[in-house]
Symmetry: C2
Subunit: 224 residues, 2 copies
DNA sequence: AACGTTAGCCATACTTTGTACGATGAGTCA
DNA sequence: TGACTCATCGTACAAAGTATGGCTAACGTT
């Protein structure tokens, strides 16, 4: 009786499975996410999951969909540049929360509504600029390439959460002990910039985003 | 006796193992690359590999090193913009040949000489510009982010080898059957641009590279 | 109230993975 | 010849995904 409204004991559910999988992948990464560990995390036995999903790949598809749903659609009322920039920031933030998703976001062969809706909103905003389609195509490709690539690099940073503190530590261990004859530039760059207080790799994100959007804007002005 | 110069029967070798692994990964991808399949490919039994490598991870490290070695170092005699652009093109070409490498290029925790030498050459070129270090940091981060991200997207394209032909086919199967009410922009963009003759996703690479390098150049001019 | 039906959960088992351990056999030197 | 070295391999085990089919509890029907 009561609130479960059904006949289930553990209250399993496709949504609960995907949610649990995302949680667990955030914790331990994608490769160590196994069916058995996921089942443990959900308080059930491994084979129970297969009543709601058809395969592990099906779960991963669902996980990617969740990430896409976390990305803000561009605001159709805002100036295009703000809308695109905010959406890029939102994409980066989502990829930071879910770094395991970065390499697989665009490689799913069966795009669900989450993905299609997202791309439709993006395209609507871009088309609203009135730019020629070839420039829009470049804009989309280049902005997304930059954001995905930046997220990939951020994810590769040691303990990518708090940025600078850990990076200094890692630099000390890896770069500083190197031979000064062989790696003069690497050592100088590390000592005089990376290990300086206030350095934050993340600052390059806004810089790069500006470069890219400037480029689109200028090439549109040249053509249009 | 004769040419093998030693006591081995199959002529196994760490280099031969890594080379074979790269070949095989180029064919079938990284996940399906198993120790057993690699041993088959080399004409050897699985356990023989472990006399030259300490683990599968060790092999993967070596594979990443191979890819780094394929990337042209920037030409120290060329103008910086050409040197950086050529190196970016070379990186993209290597990642196109070895798409399995994209997500792991920057995430190895023990950088070998291949990786360090490459970064040293890059930094030397950048420092040669005389730009302030913060701008150099942005330049490196943004160019690499763009190239890695672009390669990631290219790798996600269906049958990413010959570019346009296959993309048109995939668009027909995935995008064209969609509801025109729900996905008007997606459909218009696909019909009027992606499926037009002459469209090639790869064209966005040079465009984006220009955007990024323009951005660095202009911000250096502003500061310096 | 009794019963068959079905939905949700799980135990077992098979295949494939990485790799630890120790055996095998070819070559070298005394 | 015999002892030694070392590249190669056979066997085996833990952990992965998942096919197959069994158990149990809740429901609709009479």
């Amino acid at each position: 009786m009561a609130s479960t409204g059904g006949r289930s004991r553990a209250g399993l559910d496709r949504d609960r499975i995907i949610d649990g999988a995302v949680e667990l992948a955030d914790d331990i990464g994608l490769d160590p996410l196994t069916i058995r560990r996921l089942a443990d995390h959900l308080g059930v036995r491994p084979m129970s999951l297969y009543h709601y999903v058809t395969s592990k790949d099906d779960i991963v598809d669902g996980m990617v969909g969740r990430v896409f749903d976390e990305i803000e659609r561009p605001d159709p009322t805002a100036p295009w540049r703000d809308a695109i920039a905010d959406r890029a920031r939102s994409l980066r933030a989502a990829l930071r929360r879910h770094p395991w998703a970065i390499p697989i976001m665009e490689s799913r062969r069966t795009p669900g509504a989450d993905i299609l809706d997202h791309h439709e909103a993006m395209l609507a905003t871009w088309i609203g600029t009135g730019f020629p389609l070839p420039i829009i195509a470049h804009g989309i490709a280049v902005v997304d390439a930059f954001v995905y690539g930046f997220a990939l690099q951020e994810a590769a940073l040691p303990f990518g959460d708090d940025a600078s503190g850990d990076l200094t530590e890692a630099s000390e261990q890896i770069v500083v002990p190197l031979s000064p004859e062989r790696y003069p530039s690497l050592l100088r760059f590390t000592a005089e910039h990376v290990m300086q207080p206030g350095y934050d790799f993340a600052d390059s994100f806004e810089a790069g985003l500006d470069f890219v959007l400037d480029g689109v804007e200028r090439s549109a002005a040249r053509t249009g």
